[in-house]
Symmetry: C2
Subunit: 426 residues, 2 copies
């Protein structure tokens, strides 16, 4: 289970002042009485997903593997790909060599250079397509889908291509559903009461994660176990809500939260968290600006600013208790690099010591508030748990900031501007 350490961030008495408020909000969330409650479908989804749907997802992934599909082109933007990438990289690492079917993300940008590179990469491989979008009219994925659909049809023929195109969308409406029906593409469902950034534990994330070779039952198990605690409207027991309160207290004087990982394969997780946090809280001139780093890498970059620059941020540090693999530092007779003093240590031990030494330097010398979150392992159970932890936490913190966690009116402004400039018909 996740261990939360707030001793370098806020006092217990400051937290306890939120006890009553958290209880009220927590109960409203549980009883679907809070603002935006119609988007709370994610909170019990791991319990509610039908075993038949899980079976269907797994079967389909197995079928693709049998048919020698080497690459799954996931077409989606925002919540339609960020959580999937977070899960796969956390569990399998940044190099795709552990992925049973390699996953490539497209439709998350409108760079012609980038899309072209991905077309060149895909066309030499046996590939399948998974388009993920609630409406099907979001510009970026719609452009990419037209291109990759054509690529696949040219490669294996229109008739065959229909067996390798999968649509994840709203079960009852939208143009993507129409396209699927018209072409007889297999569909997966985004429940209508779950928004994009809270959707990673639905088919949105589960299908591509299953294709990559993750055990999706274990992800859901981890989430369910976490839920037993993170649904409690009790600040003494619920670490997710406790973290939310700590952030809100720190946000009174500090505008930036730096999410720090000591494991490079958590980089995509940072990106998922940034969307979750920025879109849920950043409205009505409120919210914490979410940014991220990988240590020790970025100690040789942002580290200088953190240590001695302007005091505008607090840190949330995530470390893993047990690494995937540990390695000992090698001995060397000549010791020209003066490293033999470490040769009785493992690299993970050194990483832990780096964490402690850095925390000390940042907390004691620079007086930067520091939240520490330790999780068990970079595996499926922990991923499910962590997702639930942060989704619960950000929901609570948004309510504490008195904003609706589930809308994103600011994103619509740029979209409307763009549609106008592009001359989109009404």
């Amino acid at each position: 289970m996740i261990k939360l350490n707030l001793k370098n961030a806020v006092t217990n008495s400051a937290i306890n002042k939120f006890k009553k408020n958290v209880e009220i909000i927590g109960n409203r969330i549980e009883n679907l009485e809070s603002e935006g409650f119609e988007w709370l479908g994610w909170k019990d989804f791991p319990e509610n997903i039908h075993p038949r749907e899980i079976g269907d997802i797994n079967q389909t992934a197995k079928r693709l593997l049998k048919q020698n599909v080497e690459l799954l082109v996931v077409i989606g933007i925002g919540g339609s790909f960020a959580g999937t990438k977070a899960g796969i990289e956390m569990i399998q690492g940044e190099y795709p060599n552990k992925q049973k079917i390699e996953i490539m993300y497209v439709g998350e940008s409108i760079s012609s250079s980038n899309i072209h590179q991905k077309i060149v990469y895909a066309e030499e491989k046996n590939f399948a397509i998974n388009v993920i979008s609630k409406s099907g009219t979001t510009t970026e994925p719609a452009i990419a889908f037209r291109l990759f659909k054509k690529l696949l049809e040219d490669k294996i023929g229109i008739y065959n291509s229909t067996k390798f195109i999968f649509i994840t969308t709203d079960p009852t409406k939208g143009s993507l559903l129409k396209i699927a029906q018209e072409n007889k593409y297999k569909t997966f469902t985004i429940p209508s009461n779950i928004g994009g950034r809270f959707s990673v534990l639905t088919a949105v994330g589960l299908f591509p994660m299953a294709c990559a070779g993750l055990n999706i039952e274990k992800i859901l198990e981890g989430a369910k176990k976490a839920n037993e605690i993170y649904k409690l409207a009790n600040i003494d027991k619920n670490q997710a809500y406790r973290y939310a309160v700590a952030r809100i207290i720190l946000n009174k004087t500090l505008n930036v939260e730096l999410m720090v990982q000591y494991e490079p394969q958590m980089k995509a997780f940072n990106e998922w968290w940034k969307q979750l946090s920025a879109e849920s809280e950043g409205k009505n001139q409120r919210g914490i600006f979410p940014t991220s780093a990988i240590f020790s890498t970025d100690l040789h970059s942002l580290g200088q600013f953190i240590q001695e620059g302007k005091k505008i941020l607090f840190e949330t540090i995530m470390t893993v208790k047990e690494p995937d693999v540990d390695i000992n530092v090698l001995k060397n007779e000549k010791n020209l690099d003066n490293l033999n003093y470490l040769s009785n240590k493992s690299i993970h031990e050194i990483n832990k010591i780096a964490f402690n030494a850095t925390t000390d330097a940042h907390v004691k010398v620079a007086k930067i508030p520091n939240i520490h979150i330790e999780f068990d392992k970079m595996n499926e159970e922990s991923f499910g748990e962590i997702v639930m932890f942060f989704e619960r936490a950000v929901t609570m913190s948004a309510y504490l900031l008195k904003v609706n966690p589930f809308n994103q009116p600011g994103v619509e402004i740029y979209k409307q501007n763009m549609f106008k400039a592009l001359g989109k018909p009404e």
Copy 2:
């Protein structure tokens, strides 16, 4: 050439107030009279590098290619890898399929899981090693070098391995130089008057970039051409210094600079820039906190906060004038996705329109100051030019903040703490 547009950021009259000051500082820089002047070697290095050194770098890269080396393991942290990665990805894209010799970066973290994955990835390939460190005693790369050296020796024998290990280090001192001499490894030079984060246009970056297949002469050409302008102590002519002044004006009320790219292959460039900026300016409780995003991807993430969250940031937007490739939006008879209204446009045109529409939404609606930098192409010349632009700019802005751009005392604090915790002998 780079086009700088400040009309959505600061007024000309505000900038002109800095004219005299920029002239004084600029002349001090040119005459090596400014604080930290002993680290200004980078500023004329593209002019000063000996053609023999360029030839040697290119010859060595060619030799490796001939010997069927598939992978170059670059071992370094901070400035020893960030600029290289920035250049290679900017010019060749994020997928390594254009790299003549694939480049892998190690020694930039102490995650055992991460190092293990990279060992597994490397051991199946014909690989060479390039260790990059001024001193040779930085913990992260030193640990990685011991492991990869052993891996290579076990694979091809100690004698043969010496022909595939390359050391980039100080030409006159340090333990890495000793190791190279002892083992007869070929060496490249980090000039002693150039610090890590300013070293990408020396052998630090040039050798791995040549191995990846970049034309390093063209990179240096671009830098030299840029230098003709960016060395001028004249705010009317020198866009790099103009950008520096704009940042300092904005920093009076805003603490965060969000560097935004519309091309995903500029992601590693953002990381290089973050180090350059944070380490050069973030001291004495001063500096701008550098953070970054890729649009339109992150409009579906940070976008909400930028549009409607707390007003703590300004944006610096980089766009490319001419894409590597352009693609037209495909037509579709049925038009179920309502995208046919775009089918007379190219994707790069749409990306440009997205940029304009977003700038409008951020500037006019959200009142976020917005700096725009347009560069020509994602090629070698532009990379050299951009590097020189930002190195010049950050040097000026640091001096305007009255801090020494070339030291990093805050990084030493964590290092000393770590050495103490690890029990490093004196």
